[in-house]
Point group: C4
Chain length 381, copies 4
């Protein structure tokens, strides 16, 4: 229709809509390098465990660190609100669906105890693990110093959407450049999902950004407030910002895709879209070691007035080690994630994550219609 | 195929196909302004309640006005055909699905009583509420004067599709510029969905247009007559007409997206597509105060020869106040609509509805396939 | 990927993927003209009944003609193979799904009786109805003269795909220009679905083309041999050929969309895509007068070696008159097809079918997801 | 969003998303030629049977050769690991879904017996059939000489993704030009799916390539490692490489689409996308002669650490001859595949496979929504 347009709209893509294209050289999986570096830390595997109560407690953080990844402990979850968080988590697992949101709203209205912050961080550090913790922007000025004193190594400042600028009259917003100077520790900030917001965040001096608004399995942000950018597109945009900032400043800021990854296939696609690491929730909630007892929920599920989440029944399917490294007899991509990544890199001609960034992708909606002609069954955990 | 084309076809988008993109600045929700102005009236919240029998009766209109919105009473529905409309509404709620269309056809064949028009409007005005009423173009010349005498504040002229010009031999069509002069009240006309039709309507001197043909939950216009434009595209086109007319005349005509909104997410998307206000049906039919007793149906469902609608079982889930302002423990976006709007504006860098018009959108079909890997449940009302 | 392309592929659209856009003027439905002309015949309503055994027998043909349309009797179906076709049709209706294809293969292996051809045509003519009959290209030379002698008015030459040229060694192909000269009656040929094939057919001197390969409800051509063009695109291409041929020759050849129409909405879209008339199968098989007794199947369903069809249970829902003209209490678009067409033309600013060709269309996949939020039910027949 | 892009993404298409367009001339099916030539061999029908344990054993290979096609025996499957493979296959068929992957992992850990290689090949040759066998790149140097001594005619080197170059430190990769020289037999290599990889493979001197990564009915490569290119696009790209290589070298390398074909329709589409032959799995596993006893699974389903497959219950529906040549009473396209191909070529104006390469295709997602209006049933085997 030949009239002035009110607005242009770009097409965005999620994990299920794209696929990776094999390369022209194949590489043996054991020749691939999947390290992830942020500031002076280097992790053998480029996976972060989400700062969610169903996934990371102190024991999980220690184990995950030993296996080569980086777990993030939520300083505003049940671990710092309750002396005995396990009791609370059992209650969540036992509550029927229709009552669980109210229960979560009640549980998270309990105040955060500063003493517990120190205690949890201390336990992780004592075991020799790298300790990363997360706080929301609103509480950062209060909680970050306590966490630093307790020995945290890496600070994650995280909310649904975090920007370099915030407008409020009730409190003075968090000034990220100030925080970077004061803390003198590696800082990861999120979540964001656009080129401009990512670039602005990078310019504040932080070390990594978390990419992803609305894609998680346990998240209903898009239904409730209409906001969300599918993860492949969000990662592509933020990766473009990283390259621009690298050119501009010489500094490489890590791009971490956070949310929506359910399988090895999704994991591989995130890297091909430009991620330096991925942060995972629901796949790790399936581990025997996960504190969620087979359930998983998001941190905005407990908002007192506008909860945005679902409780997901993920089940407990295997040990953390097996989920990460296999071997497995499960064929739907939820186990041996690292084996999957290395195999994918091998057929895609990528020796490193940085080379994985160059792999070709196609838009290819995954439509399996075999069921129309014969019965397809799958060996799930 | 390199041959002359018979016709070009543009792609159109609905609520489920797009998502909003966060902005580069975040704003505290309490800093947002969601007022809506039409002519000399300003409403604290930019929501209109649909002129449908399952939603607006006099009591609902009064309550909705007190809460800050604008309810429209249908002057051609059960409220003006029956002394005791509640009896009729109970009958609709009790009738089994297979018989309900015939029943509605019978109910709406009862003549409209002029006395009841005056009575209903009088009740609303007496309570101190703003009174908006709707009539079809065919009946406008007869009913508008009666309504004006009874004290109506705002006139809505509404049918499936209303244009500035109408061809008929059986009656002289409604001339909108004449109506505007004679009535000297704010006039809202609809529904329309294209740039050219909207622009032509605006030039008749009206104050607002209703946007939306065929998108409502209780509407089967598209199946029955093939006509319909998805709401995001329809709103974008009419918003473009508003800007063009503003430039041309200096007058700002309100664009009101009407139909198809089921959640807070849809509401937010309508504003981002250019709406100044939204008109809602099914979400408000869920209120305790709604006269439909948990059911909802469209006004063309009762057409004597070509009914175009369905009865929808929406259930009764919460008070009107809670649906609008929360708090809630429901996570699917159907409650705390105003909280959702303010939160969305906050993450999208919009202080006002006018700034919400500038928010970026992406085309992002909402495909949630987590169910393939684990069980997702949701706390619905 | 910057390499030479093997082939370009154009996007094609079906009924469910598009919608009509209202116009800038509304017209009273009773002001619309929906006539259809082919050669010297003019029909009050632009609908043909498919040459299928579940739809047209002599009684149906007579009734349909009286109601203003044109029914086509298949000269190679049960009506000309069996003295008492009703017996055979009952057998089809009673046979369980798994055996019905074999039964149809057996039924259609019975030879065609020339005597029955004359008898059936005679009965239709005697009742004063216009008599159209269909034959396949292979049998045209043998059967057309018999039909002509018996009094047929219009000849339809129809197979899955019919072209102006055919390569065979077993028989001399049908030469359409010869046929047109010899028959000296209006000839409609099909099916075709592209610009070039349609143009070539038009140049042979025929009066109408049938458009549609693979779209019918009872057809599995696309699954079996991969061939098929969705109806909106097929109609747009053939309509473009009609305009080109009109410019080239001054002759207007009728474009008849055949197959895939299930509702009033589909019907309206076919005209907007450029059809001069539509040929319908399954919606008419639902009539009390249809010989199929609530079932419907395609003519290639009985192919002895490669059957391409399904038996569809359409049910018997209303009289033919009510399906065409209403009134109805059914809201899914399957009844009052003419009312729907006139209403659609009214809101789309089209006084005639020729004006309907100019109506705007949008690509708008029909996704109704209300069911996610509340229960939607529909009053079906 | 006007910022530097990180990566371009092309749209790719699978079988279900496209359809063939009829041509301007129709050809009698018996006038079509569907031969396939590779090196000095010419096969009457352009179909290969997949090198999978559920499909090809010696008896099947002999029968398939007699019917005009080429079956490939997997030299790394149960036939060469077990004296009595039938016992093992029965066990697979009897094992419940949840245990079958572990069982397959165990079965395929049994070593390959060189003696059995000679025995199986000998049996095929003795019956006068053409003998093609497959090996993985890793085992080619060891197994190919044994197979050659036993009398194999055609060597297939196959893995999920095979490229002309491989990077490994544990073994010296297979050098294809060396293999071609040493073997002096026709060599087919796969799988690949891009222009550049196909071209590079062709330049090594091989005679055919297998096209397809991730599309098979029994394959979960895309879910597990994110890799896969839909078959229409993959075939188009490799066909483009064939044309480029033909121009460059004068040599015609066969392009064989392997995987994802379930019906006659898919088969026809593969040829129209540029295939010279197709390799089929699940449709042939349905034959009475197939050793899989109604089940089918992929060769990567048994990977010890990262299994990528499903067991598919295909059923046993008809003899191999009937599946290939009919006649049939099945209407979903799974029987009389050759009849379907010839019919398709006939309506698409293609006398030869080479002419089939020129047939037009449209993008036309197959959406059948008749079920909404009436009950559609289909006569499946």
């Amino acid at each position: 229709m030949p009239h002035p347009k009110f607005k242009d709209i770009e097409r965005a893509y999620g994990f299920d809509e794209i696929a990776l294209v094999p390369g022209d050289v194949t590489i043996n999986p054991d020749q691939t390098n999947i390290e992830f570096a942020v500031s002076d830390y280097t992790f053998p595997i480029a996976i972060l465990a989400s700062a969610m109560d169903a996934i990371v407690d102190t024991a999980f953080a220690i184990k995950f660190s030993k296996l080569g990844g980086l777990a993030v402990l939520n300083l505003e979850g049940v671990q710092t609100r309750y002396e005995n968080p396990d009791e609370v988590l059992s209650q969540v697992a036992k509550t029927p669906e229709k009552d669980v949101t109210s229960l979560l709203q009640k549980i998270y209205s309990e105040p955060i105890k500063e003493k517990l912050i120190s205690q949890r961080i201390g336990a992780i550090k004592q075991a020799g693990a790298v300790c990363a913790v997360s706080v929301t922007p609103t509480n950062t000025k209060r909680l970050a110093p306590i966490a630093k004193d307790a020995g945290m190594d890496i600070l994650v400042v995280q909310s649904t959407v975090t920007t370099a600028r915030h407008i409020s009259k009730s409190y003075r917003g968090l000034i990220l450049p100030e925080l970077c100077q004061q803390t003198s520790l590696p800082i990861i900030v999120g979540n964001c999902c656009t080129y401009s917001a990512a670039l602005e965040l990078m310019r504040t001096g932080i070390n990594g950004i978390l990419v992803g608004v609305g894609p998680g399995a346990a998240c209903t942000t898009r239904e409730v407030i209409g906001v969300g950018v599918p993860q492949i597109t969000a990662t592509l945009h933020c990766a473009a910002a990283r390259e621009a900032y690298l050119k501009e400043s010489g500094k490489y800021v890590a791009v971490i895709t956070d949310g929506g990854i359910r399988t090895g296939g999704d994991l591989c696609k995130a890297f091909a879209a430009g991620a330096d690491a991925v942060m995972m929730g629901s796949p790790l909630a399936q581990a025997t070691e996960a504190p969620g007892k087979g359930y998983h929920w998001g941190m905005s599920h407990s908002h007192p007035a506008l909860p945005r989440g679902t409780r997901v029944r993920v089940g407990t399917t295997a040990s953390l080690e097996q989920i990460l490294f296999g071997p497995t007899s499960v064929t739907n991509g939820t186990q041996n994630l690292i084996g999957a990544l290395r195999t994918s890199m091998g057929v895609c001609s990528a020796r490193t994550i940085r080379e994985m960034h160059k792999v070709k992708m196609v838009i290819a909606p995954s439509i399996k219609t075999e069921g129309k002609y014969f019965q397809v069954t799958q060996n799930v955990p």
